[in-house]
């Protein structure tokens, strides 16, 4: 009896210890329990459309095409960023300051197309905070590669998308995406990074060699409808903190992400249909061969 009791006590303490360690592993102190993070997001009014080529908004299916406002600016929100300065970076690394009132601001019409970066920075005592967001803008063709903008040091502590999603691509749930953590332009390894979504998911990873950190974006859309355009994007943000000498640094990278089209695309059926094509091709080719033999005879 005593042995059973002892065994139960042991199991209970092991379970409690595991639970405690588990809790630490899943939500380490430092990252999860920070004050509200400064981040750049889209005002919710823009949700519901679908972003093609990173920026152009289309109406719902069946709607008439909207007049395209080429080079039109975009509305953004700076959350928890009172007192921060905001810069708008062009693909050629030129930048300008943007006025922010009440957290809401518009990014100006760009001179050229392609990805631009919005960078917010703030210093409060020994804490330096930064928030970065990349937006695809329309304009005259730019000959600059977005890799230059992504890799450029725009703020001291930064999460670089490696790469930013290209045309015909966007951040999508269930896909693996790479990021590089940089401090003063140099890759930083061994630092925890957290990915959170506007739909409540929370994932953590630690930057590895060359500052690389990978995330599979969670498939957390509560309600999925058929077709990309019927599913508005949600917001994700990556957050990391780091201390160097006597300064604490925090950085956020935010972006829109989309439903995994695998919800309405079947690979199994695709293979089956291609298989039917193979059979049909074999049949037609076979007829050809027997015809030929027939003629020869």
């Amino acid at each position: 009896m005593k042995t059973i009791q002892q065994a139960s006590m042991y199991s209970l303490s092991i379970m409690l210890l595991c639970g405690f360690l588990g809790a630490v592993a899943i939500t380490p102190d430092a990252i999860a329990n920070t004050a509200p993070r400064m981040k750049l997001t889209k005002p919710s009014a823009t949700g519901g459309g679908h972003q093609l080529h990173g920026g152009q908004q289309h109406g719902k299916q069946g709607a008439q095409p909207q007049p395209r406002r080429r080079g039109a600016g975009k509305q953004l929100l700076l959350e928890n960023g009172e007192g921060a300065t905001v810069e708008f970076w062009a693909p050629d690394l030129g930048f300008q300051e943007i006025k922010v009132e009440g957290g809401r601001f518009s990014i100006p019409k760009p001179a050229v197309d392609n990805y631009h970066a919005v960078v917010a920075e703030r210093q409060q005592g020994d804490l330096k905070q930064a928030a970065v967001r990349y937006e695809y803008m329309r304009g005259k063709p730019s000959s600059e590669s977005p890799s230059r903008l992504a890799a450029a040091q725009k703020t001291e502590f930064e999460i670089e998308p490696a790469p930013i999603p290209r045309e015909h691509s966007r951040y999508m749930a269930n896909k693996k995406w790479d990021f590089i953590l940089r401090f003063k332009g140099k890759p930083l390894s061994g630092v925890p990074v957290v990915l959170e979504t506007s739909q409540g998911s929370h994932i953590e990873a630690v930057s590895g060699d060359a500052g690389l950190v990978q995330f599979i974006i969670p498939d957390d859309f509560p309600e999925v409808k058929l077709g990309r355009r019927n599913n508005p994007p949600a917001e994700l943000s990556l957050f990391a903190k780091y201390k160097a000498e006597s300064t604490r640094y925090e950085t956020t990278l935010s972006a829109a992400y989309y439903v995994d089209p695998g919800h309405w695309r079947s690979k199994g059926l695709g293979v089956a249909v291609a298989g039917l094509g193979l059979l049909a091709g074999g049949f037609i080719g076979g007829i050809g061969r027997s015809n030929k033999r027939g003629k020869k005879q």
Binding site: P65, S145, E167, H168, R265, V273, L276, G281, I284
Partner: protein, 345 residues
């Protein structure tokens, strides 16, 4: 080394660059070589070295031309991106002409590889497709180009067709499936059940992909015959510096080896007795007809009027011998036990 062997090497290098080239030149659109390539190198493959010109055309028809007309905007302004794409395409096309098909296109290379596999597996090859069938199939590429690359995207821009028809040709293009699969990405070989339009197009695209693979094992270049890029290239064929030319001889009438060698079954190369420029609409400038022409200088590949490869009887003899030796090597022939000299006696 014969012309076909040189061509194979160029095709392999081009396939590597077109399908995996982003590591060399970069991942983003502006990093790509031209974004208006006269061959089916696919934009859906993120590792591509360059894009085919059909994708910008489709998007521009929908978003620039169609929407400009719908919004009563300035059509000339709406056409500017298309003119830029066309200009880039033409610069490339002038340099290499229809050789983009015969030497560069990854889908063309893949079909040739399948044909080679079919031959090595011992599947009976169709030397030539029936003349009537060839003639019946020829207009299809023009219809695909007109309806799927230009007309439907414009209708979409005008608001008369589903938004899923912005790039209808891409939805059925075998290069999209091939080049993504070649990178281990299975996202394009799917049935898209979002709506009836995507479902219909994806089923057709998958079926066409399977059909092309099976046919290519026994028929030469089955997809090329209906490819809209072939039609696009045919439209501008007079502008290319590289040309196939013919100085017809009286022996041509009885010969016809050139037409038999042609993977696109262009019998007119044989029958044409007057025209000098025989770069016909289906020609891919692969040069096989020149290799298999036994008569000196009758067929020539010329670059800006300078002959760069000409038919000759010596070359023909060597080439024919090499071809026979190559065709003899099949899986079955490799399996056959070697006959020992003693056994013979």
């Amino acid at each position: 080394m014969n012309l076909s062997a040189i061509r194979k090497l160029v095709q392999i290098a081009a396939f590597g660059f077109m399908v995996y080239g982003s590591g060399l030149i970069g991942y983003y659109t502006v990093d790509k070589f031209s974004n208006a390539l006269p061959a089916l190198s696919c934009a859906f493959n993120h590792n591509t070295g360059d894009y085919c010109t059909l994708i910008p055309f489709q998007h521009q028809m929908a978003h620039r031309v169609g929407e400009t007309i719908a919004n009563e905007g300035n059509l000339l302004q709406g056409l500017i991106p298309t003119l830029i794409t066309l200009g880039t395409f033409l610069i490339l096309f002038v340099i290499l002409s229809k050789a983009f098909c015969g030497w560069i296109c990854p889908l063309g290379t893949f079909q040739e590889l399948l044909s080679m596999i079919g031959q090595k597996l011992g599947l009976q090859q169709r030397k030539s497709v029936d003349e009537k069938v060839v003639k019946r199939i020829r207009p299809v590429k023009w219809l695909v180009l007109f309806f799927l690359v230009f007309f439907l995207p414009i209708l979409t821009g005008l608001g008369y067709a589903s938004h899923d028809l912005v790039d209808p040709y891409c939805k059925i293009c075998p290069s999209r499936i091939l080049t993504t699969l070649a990178n281990g990405n299975t996202d394009q070989l799917v049935v898209d059940q979002a709506n009836p339009v995507t479902m219909g197009f994806s089923i057709f695209g998958d079926f066409l992909f399977g059909l092309m693979i099976a046919l290519a094992l026994t028929v030469r270049q089955p997809f090329c015959r209906i490819c809209p890029m072939l039609a696009m290239n045919a439209t501008f064929r007079k502008l290319g510096l590289l040309k196939l030319t013919k100085n017809a001889s009286s022996r041509c009438e009885k010969c016809g080896l050139c037409a038999k060698a042609c993977p696109m079954d262009i019998r007119e190369i044989h029958t044409e007795m007057v025209k000098k420029d025989v770069t016909f609409e289906d020609c891919t400038l692969c040069g096989r007809c020149v290799e298999f022409c036994p008569d000196k200088n009758v067929l020539q590949l010329k670059y800006a009027t300078i002959p760069i490869f000409s038919a000759s009887s010596d070359y023909f003899k060597k080439r024919k011998k090499a071809q026979k030796a190559w065709e003899k090597v099949t899986l079955a022939s490799l399996k056959q036990p070697t006959v020992q000299p003693e056994a013979k006696s």
